[in-house]
């Protein structure tokens, strides 16, 4: 049925149109007013087509402040499972955490993020996982700007012949470098918290650079 309509005529559900509408408001130019949502997803594995999201953790960051009562943490009900990954994220299939369906999780998530700038470590993966989930439910892709702390961290490193830059820096390395406690590592919200603190420190470093501008930063 849906195939015969032109693309723009698709009637998306309210939660999506509400989410979409939030982008009508332009992002503030002032970094202190800008809302960032730092997130992390725990998944059944790394295959973007087969694997599924098990939990999403996110927190909101504005003006160097994380409000603890504005956090987002959901556990999803999933059929698909890899036993070998349970060791990492510790989420079992029969876990007693209150679970919700994937669609429900996405709806809550979209209302939480609105038009905020998303931040994640190796953000490409989280974004793809979320987009795949949206696609399964017939929704378009996320519209938010996304920043990747792994890439931003690389930019903070000094250009020196003595320092070999690598392509990837793990969240553990960042936590060590910035002296962030690794408590709750490998829970979505715990990782999001580490990412958030690392992001704040990275942002400070980048801000002191001569060519820094918010526009460029969010490009």
């Amino acid at each position: 049925m849906r195939g015969i309509f032109k693309k723009k005529k698709i009637n998306y559900p309210v939660f999506w149109t509400d989410y979409e509408a939030s982008f009508k408001e332009p992002l503030p130019d002032n970094l202190n007013e800008l809302r960032f949502v730092v997130l992390d997803t725990e998944t059944t594995g790394l295959n973007i087509k087969e694997d599924r999201i098990l939990s999403i953790g996110a927190l909101s960051l504005r003006g160097n402040t994380i409000a603890v009562n504005q956090i987002f943490e959901v556990y999803l009900y999933q059929h698909f499972y890899h036993a070998e990954n349970v060791a990492i994220h510790g989420i079992l299939r029969e876990e007693t955490n209150d679970r919700i369906t994937e669609l429900e999780a996405l709806m809550q998530f979209l209302s939480f993020i609105g038009n905020s700038v998303l931040v994640a470590h190796h953000a490409g993966f989280d974004r793809t996982m979320l987009n795949e989930a949206l696609k399964r439910h017939g929704m378009p892709k996320l519209k938010n700007k996304v920043l990747d702390t792994s890439i931003l961290y690389r930019e903070t490193l000094i250009a020196s012949p003595l320092l070999q830059k690598r392509d990837h820096y793990s969240l553990d390395e960042l936590a060590d470098k910035f002296d962030i406690s690794k408590k709750d590592r490998h829970t979505a919200l715990g990782d999001a918290y580490i990412t958030a603190i690392a992001f704040l420190k990275i942002l400070e470093k980048l801000k002191s650079r001569r060519k820094f501008s918010v526009k460029r930063f969010l490009r």
């Binding site: 009637n11 559900p13 309210v14 939660f15 953790g57 927190l59 160097n64 402040t65 994380i66 409000a67 603890v68 009562n69 504005q70 956090i71 987002f72 943490e73 959901v74 955490n97 209150d98 429900e104 709806m107 809550q108 209302s111 939480f112 490193l157 000094i158 020196s160 012949p161 003595l162 320092l163 060590d176 470098k177 002296d179 408590k183 709750d184 829970t187 919200l189 715990g190 918290y193 603190i197 704040l200 420190k201 400070e204 002191s208 650079r209 001569r210």
Partner: protein, 662 residues
């Protein structure tokens, strides 16, 4: 479609408030993290954990960079107060910007104005990069009524001392710990500051034998033992008693405590200030005071205050600080001692004590801190090092020119081992180095941005690996190799065996003798620093970046001297002198015909270092960048005079190493 929509519409109100719904049902990882931290500190330690968790859910986590303002003096109160989670906050009061207090992890500040509904009486800034928990007063207030302990804590905090409510406000916390040289950044306040004393009371009964008492005192590293009877103090035994009464043969070591103790004990109330304590000790000519609840010997003994504690409090004696460093069992303790070291440094500079002496003392203290960090790490790792090793300080620390906290540069050499053991041994030393570099970061040495640290596998090598690397640098002197060797060749032994280091030095001298062309490249590197002044002898300032319009005293003035000093010292094969001004003094001795210039260089180095240190103390940074308009005319002239010396020195190097022909 319609059906789904309807379903969504019904469900939507719930989604609108996902946060409250979630936090109520599920434990929020972040808020538990906050609660876990708060429960260790007063007054939160009085709260039931459920209450604390509920409070924690309303907390915000605030990140502040060094020196950024949290609130201004005279500003209307915020809706929340602050708890230091990581880092520290400094409270200053106008008009003189006197430091009123330094708040450490777990300390509360900015609470009183919220309760009294007044504007802030002082300014608060982040003393270092910090994370604060901000607690809304509306959430907190109900608990002050629910828990009488919290109410009391606040009353006691605010009632006593109006001039310094903040320092008093965590008096309870001070009572609960043995604190060292904590918050006395301002000597003017000593009269008001309550003393910190050992709460862990070392005491025993009157029938204990001298032998056990001496053993306990040795184990606990204390100079006095309180003798108690049912918690009441009845006597005291100090080192002196044991020396005078036991070592002289007057009493056997099997004698009982009551036979040799000094009694009655001189007691004082716990609420005494540093000045009062000093007076008390002077008055009665004793070195230990017993503190009791009400100041008489009829109440419970709470602690012993020694002369040592007071000296430390005053932070003005390198010997005492040195002792405290060696006693420190945790990184955190060293961090607080280092603040006292900084105070000491400031005092020396203010009193115009010669920089040679100042830098020697400070370098010794810094060195002791690093040594202690390594000692703590070795204890923590629980395994003996598989072979001998040497921990080296590189760069400014290696040259003993590091007066302020700067980045850490270090490296490690370990003895050669058979190939099959290499990996295992290296893994051990990397693990050790990781702990040490982390410890160093905790006490105030930032990680090296170029990762030039022993925790980097490239900088944690066996002796022959180091020899190979150095040979490579000397035989292939590209710009990178010259840069690397210029940082590395200022190495200094910090910990471990000197043998490995001596062998390495020998190797460097043999190699440079064989490849004299290396000096030419080193000389070229030494001349590459940008000039301090322009054609009209005006200062050249930075043109862009975070330090636009500041003068870079390190790169434009100090580095040329340091680089030249190293080059000339190396070419003369001067061993074991790393300090730049000392290098020049030695050079003046070796080359009498250039003596005057070298002595001028030595003087210029000291003058510039002092400049940098003073600026650094003023701005709580490395002092590298100087705002020229903050200098007096006299200072500017002084600065320019050193530039002339630098120019002459560079001419000499150009000619000696035949660079003009290149």
């Amino acid at each position: 479609m319609k059906c789904i929509r309807l379903l969504l519409a019904c469900a939507f109100p719930v989604y609108r408030l996902p946060l409250t719904a979630n936090t109520a049902v599920m434990k929020n990882t972040i808020s538990s993290r906050v609660a876990d931290f708060l429960k260790n500190y007063p007054p939160f330690n009085e709260m039931k954990f459920e209450d604390l968790e509920r409070l924690s859910e309303e907390v915000s986590i605030l990140y502040k960079i060094k020196e950024s303002v949290i609130f201004e003096q005279g500003e209307a109160p915020h809706s929340h107060f602050y708890v230091v989670h990581k880092g520290a906050a400094v409270l200053r009061k106008k008009p003189d910007n006197d430091i009123v207090d330094l708040c450490d992890e777990g300390d509360i500040f900015g609470l009183r104005p919220l309760i009294a509904n007044e504007n802030y009486e002082m300014e608060a800034r982040a003393y270092e990069e910090s994370i604060f928990y901000t607690i809304p007063i509306t959430t907190f207030r109900p608990y002050t009524q629910k828990y009488s302990e919290i109410g009391n804590f606040l009353i006691e905090s605010f009632a006593s001392n109006m001039r310094n409510p903040y320092a008093r406000s965590h008096k309870d916390k001070l009572l609960a710990h043995t604190s060292i040289g904590n918050s006395n950044t301002n000597s003017g306040l000593l009269d008001l500051q309550s003393v910190h004393y050992s709460k862990k009371l070392i005491a025993c009964g009157e029938n204990s034998s001298i032998k056990t008492i001496a053993a306990t005192m040795t184990e606990k590293k204390v100079g006095a033992m309180l003798i108690v009877k049912g918690k009441l103090p009845i006597g005291i035994i100090t080192d002196k008693d044991i020396r005078n009464k036991v070592a002289t043969g007057q009493f056997p070591i099997t004698a009982k405590a009551k036979e040799i103790m000094s009694a009655p004990v001189i007691t004082y109330p716990v609420k005494m200030t540093i000045t009062q304590a000093q007076m008390a000790m002077m008055k009665s000519g004793i070195s230990h005071l017993c503190l009791t609840e009400d100041g008489t010997d009829n109440t419970k003994a709470l602690g012993i205050l020694s002369k040592h504690d007071i000296m430390l409090e005053l932070g003005n004696n390198p010997g005492v600080l040195m002792k405290a460093i060696k006693r420190a069992g945790k990184f955190k303790k060293i961090k607080t001692i280092r603040r006292s070291v900084q105070n000491l440094l400031k005092g020396y500079l203010d009193q115009n004590i010669p920089l040679t002496l100042t830098s020697k003392i400070i370098a010794e203290l810094n060195d002791a801190c690093v040594k202690q960090v390594i000692a703590i790490a070795l204890k923590k790792i629980k395994k003996e090092p598989p072979v001998k090793f040497t921990w080296m300080a590189l760069g400014s620390q290696g040259r003993s020119e590091q007066l302020l906290h700067t980045d850490q540069d270090n490296a490690l050499i370990f003895e050669d081992v058979p190939k099959h053991q290499q990996e295992k041994v290296k893994t051990y030393f990397l693990e050790l180095s990781k702990m040490v570099t982390k410890g160093l970061m905790h006490i105030g040495y930032a990680y090296c941005p170029a990762d030039m640290m022993a925790s980097n596998p490239e900088w944690c090598l066996s002796l022959s690996e180091w020899k190979n690397r150095i040979s490579h640098w000397i035989t292939n002197p590209g710009p990178d190799e010259v840069l690397l060797s210029s940082i590395f060749f200022d190495y200094n032994l910090v910990y471990g065996t000197p043998k490995l280091l001596n062998e390495l030095t020998g190797h460097i001298f043999t190699m440079t003798e064989k490849y004299p062309i290396f000096f030419m490249h080193l000389a070229q590197g030494a001349l590459q620093n940008p000039s301090p002044t322009g054609f009209f002898r005006q200062f050249l300032v930075e043109e862009d970046g975070a330090h636009k319009d500041f003068f870079d005293v390190k790169r434009r003035a100090l580095m040329p001297l340091i680089d030249a000093g190293r080059l000339l010292a190396l070419s003369h094969q001067i061993k074991a002198i790393n300090n730049t001004s000392e290098r020049f003094e030695k050079l003046a001795e070796l080359e009498p015909n250039n003596g005057e210039l070298f002595m001028a260089c030595s003087y210029a180095t000291k003058a510039l270092l002092k400049f940098r240190t003073k600026q650094g103390l003023l701005h709580n940074d490395s002092g590298r960048f100087i705002a020229l308009d903050s200098l007096s005319k006299e200072e500017k002239i002084k600065l320019k005079r050193t530039f002339k010396t630098i120019k002459e020195l560079q001419e000499l190097i150009k000619i000696r190493f035949k660079l003009s022909n290149l």
